[in-house]
């Protein structure tokens, strides 16, 4: 070490000839040299990384997405230019039409010329709406509307005009406007009726979907609001989840099935299903598996399994840049049978194609223990049993909850996958019942 110390001191003297290598300088360099980290790279890690790099390097980069990713900046500029070129004539045409329309409208008002002929269907609908308007009862006029009418009549009387405006005093424009409003109201009412008719079902009516105002579209938006959205890895590179009991869903589902009613969207979630399903296999302290997503072939699944977690234990998952977006579908503790375990299922949107190796590391408490996802994607059929179990229940949960992210999820597929695993028979039979109910619907 003495030699190294002297070499560094000589360098310092060379940089600044006035430098004096005193005892303190010598001790400082010795301290730094003796603190040199002796950590060697792990041979297994080195070999694995070499394998991953070579696998990625040998993948042909000829797909359009790869090329676009490689030349992102050029592609962005080109996209902006194309958008500008395409939109310029469209905007010009629209502006010309708008000007022409304004001209026509002005002419029509000034010279009292009849508006241009409209399609027969429109005229027919307008006549119908006018009839409905004239036959509407007093009770349909809102109190505020009555007050406004009375106020207008008083103003007219004060001006010496007739208190009630004669029909022929109304302009053609006012009539059109009233007819259009009535048409819009009729259409809205029809849409509400259709939505209600969709919701109503012979034996499987949703208990909360009784009010005619609550449309199916509104139900879907509620389901979406209760789900975790996809998060961009660039903004949220890490995710955490807590191990602990969640609300049970299997019992709720079973109660609805017994009552021959469909559960409301938020009553049964993938999280609740994963939480309550009994699964007997022992799960390792920490395991991360990257596998195929059965309801969206452009996405993949990442299943994080924690064996024997402590109550409220927080697990952190960090994603590499190979992940573009991710969504925590569900996480929960498996309690009823077998050792206590916790499973989280993430849906991944890869930055590249689905066969791109991704790096995701899950880390748990102190002392830190972590696991890295096997970079190569594991086929679902060869994935560990707990992974297939979680994937089956997640798919089933997406279907039952009417998830906005269910893609091509399918009851038959979820059941087939569940049958491969060691999920208890009662759960599989419940899945079958739900499939039958959904088909009947």
């Amino acid at each position: 070490m003495k030699k190294e110390v002297e070499a560094i001191l000589a360098e310092l003297r060379e940089i600044d000839p006035s430098f004096k290598p005193d005892g303190k300088s010598r001790e400082l360099i010795e301290t730094l040299l003796s603190a040199k980290p002796k950590a060697k790279i792990d041979a297994a890690f080195r070999a694995q990384l070499r394998k991953d790099i070579l696998a990625r390097a040998s993948r042909k980069r000829t797909t359009m997405i790869d090329l676009m990713m490689e030349h992102r900046r050029i592609v962005s500029i080109a996209a902006i230019l194309i958008a500008a070129i395409v939109s310029a004539p469209v905007i010009t045409v629209l502006m010309r039409d708008r000007n022409a329309f304004s001209r026509d409208e002005r002419q029509s008002t000034d010279d009292r010329i009849a508006p241009p002929a409209r399609p027969e269907a429109y005229e027919k609908a307008k006549r119908g709406a006018n009839e409905r308007l004239s036959s509407s009862t007093q009770s349909e006029v809102s109190p505020i509307g009555s007050i406004v009418k009375e106020e207008k009549a008083r103003t007219r009387a004060a001006k010496g005009a007739s208190p009630v405006p004669a029909d022929d005093a109304e302009t053609e424009h006012d009539k059109d406007k009233a007819a259009d409003t009535a048409l819009a109201q009729t259409k809205k009412a029809d849409m509400r009726r259709e939505a209600f008719a969709e919701n109503a079902d012979e034996g499987l009516a949703s208990p909360k979907a009784a009010a005619p105002g609550k449309s199916a579209a509104m139900g879907a938006s509620i389901a979406r609001a209760g789900e975790n959205p996809f998060l961009a890895r660039e903004q949220y590179s890490g995710s955490t989840f807590t191990c602990g009991p969640r609300s049970a869903a299997m019992n709720t589902l079973s109660q609805y099935l017994r009552a021959k009613r469909m559960p409301p969207a938020q009553a049964v979630t993938p999280e609740g299903l994963i939480n309550t399903a009994g699964y007997s296999d022992d799960i390792p302290p920490i395991a991360v598996t990257h596998t195929a997503c059965q309801w969206n072939t452009a996405h993949t699944l990442l299943v994080v399994a924690i064996g024997r977690p402590s109550q409220g234990e927080v697990i952190t998952v960090a994603f590499s840049e190979a992940v573009r977006e991710y969504r925590l579908i569900a996480n929960g503790s498996i309690i009823p049978s077998g050792p206590n375990a916790c499973i989280a299922v993430y849906e991944i949107v890869p930055a590249g194609t689905v066969d791109t190796p991704i790096l995701a590391r899950a880390t748990r408490g102190a002392p830190t223990r972590s696991a890295l996802a096997a970079p190569a994607i594991t086929e679902l059929s060869s994935a560990p049993m707990h992974v297939r179990y979680a994937a089956a229940l997640a798919e089933f949960g997406l279907l039952v909850s009417g998830s906005a992210y269910k893609g091509t999820a399918d009851h038959a597929h979820a059941i087939a996958l569940a049958e491969e695993t060691r999920i208890t028979d009662s759960i599989v039979s419940m899945m079958r019942e739900m499939k039958a109910a959904a088909e009947k619907r």
Partner: protein, 185 residues
Amino acid sequence: MDDMSAVAACRSGERTAFRAIYERYVERIYAFVYAKTFHRETAEDIVSETFMKALNKIASFDTTKGTVQAWLYRIASNAVIDHYRRAKRTTASDTIEIAEEHDYAHDISEREAHAKAMKLLAGIDPKKRDIIVMRVWQEMSFKEIADVFGENEPQVKMTFYRAVSALKKAMPLTVFLLLSLGRAL
């Protein structure tokens, strides 16, 4: 296969030539990242990220603007910064920090030396710290360090000199006396 040939091969589509670059630099990059994180798993993650990123960008690497080694060090350095930013953000939002513990050596004297050096290095700015790490621990030449920072050699030498002077000033008298005493004994 030297660096320039490997880069040329990668550009012409033979991306497996990247293996030569990987084999040549993986240990050095790992040692550099480990010296900045003192955590094995974190260092492994960052090294993986560094080489994957380098592989993706190798086609756009400009050989006239620097060496492959300097380029890899820059990627690794940025990856370390990104890692700590991410860890900070995760902590703020989710109350947990990734890879916070240090894998200190088991040997007590080594651990003490680490602790002292880290305390001293923590007091100087990151660039000076990197130059100390590269020169003293990684035994890189001033030319190589200059390439990493895109500066000329005299500039790096002067920064190194200033870093040593700053450390010397920061070195407490007690540490110096204890070390001297230990040496005398």
